[in-house]
Symmetry: C2
Subunit: 199 residues, 2 copies
């Protein structure tokens, strides 16, 4: 009967590898589930299993989908000739929550990184070039993080797409909505000042 604890320990190990969790919080979660087998544990297993069986990356943009093509790529209304380049699916979801962008996405699957040995071949940059031609894209919007790696990646993409003659843009930098100047870092204030607009 020692395998009872082994199985539970294995489960705690699985949970503790999730982002933001450690062994203690994973243990708490597993205990919570074990003590609510019918209300919490079984529904979670079923929900995870359903998603595991259906979720797959969209073969075109890299979004998470239940079909080879995701619902954004399959929607003809989103063929606006604009592609928004994001680092990962979390950023795609964040853009969608903004409810402003009406075009399609391209998920790179990371950023170039000398430290983590991520080169251009590890990202979906060749597929982006193909899509610019095959989908008749007019504008590529770079929605990459304002980090060194994000900006390196943006510059690399800019060079790569130059020959296609597509319009290239990037998200504006400035004061966040609801942001107070006093709490902003100097870089953001500088960027907001440089990009000031007529009032």
């Amino acid at each position: 009967m020692a395998d009872a604890r082994d199985e539970i320990d294995a489960l705690i190990g699985q949970f503790s590898r999730l982002p933001g969790l450690g062994p203690r919080s994973a243990r708490r979660m597993v205990l919570h589930l074990l003590q609510r087998r019918d209300q919490a544990l079984r529904p979670l297993v079923m929900a995870l299993d359903r998603v595991a069986q259906t979720a797959q990356p969209c073969t075109r943009c890299g979004n998470i989908a239940t079909a080879p093509i995701c619902d954004i790529c399959a929607d003809p209304k989103r063929a606006t000739g604009e592609i928004c380049v994001v680092e990962d699916v979390a950023d795609l979801w964040a853009m969608e929550r903004g409810q402003v962008f009406t075009g399609r996405y391209h998920v790179l699957g990371g950023t170039l990184s000398a430290l983590d040995a991520v080169g251009p071949d590890d990202l979906h940059i060749p597929q982006l070039l193909e899509r610019i031609v095959s989908e008749g894209i007019r504008e590529v919007i770079l929605a990459l993080g304002a980090t060194v790696d994000g900006q390196t990646t943006a510059h690399y993409i800019a060079e790569s797409v130059e020959q296609t003659g597509v319009i290239l843009s990037a998200l504006a930098q400035g004061v966040p909505v609801g942001g107070e100047l006093d709490f902003l870092d100097d870089g953001t204030i500088g960027a907001a000042l440089r990009s000031r607009r007529a009032f």
Copy 2:
């Protein structure tokens, strides 16, 4: 294809109800799993499913077990005549990590609480009285939290078991191992002083 997001949202909802998680951290976790289907998502489903199929409460002490009787209750070496009363399975595990207690446990499943309307009938107190008689228990050790509810529960159990003539004890209160006085609350320092021992 809109059901893809529905299923994923349902899964995020399930995760966000786990202790210590909110919608944002749940979303991060689900995305992590979705992007690592074979390395993380499927193993987690299998581990959860195994535990869901096998884990059940021990009919005697309330510990989590893979059989009607848990491995502690089934171990004849632990029939020491001592029962340690704990609030929940997390506390039982914490006691076991201490590797000092060699007897058996009794999991109450909570504490008496006027605020949450938890009365004596909601806890496993009658079962404790039965076990004291049927297992020939000499000593009941109360390992309940040093909170108002924990101490109320301890007093209620003390009254309930009085007629059985069993020895009743409680965990010592004092300075934690590795604790610095400067960082301890006044209550703990007071308790440690009252319970001071010859050096």
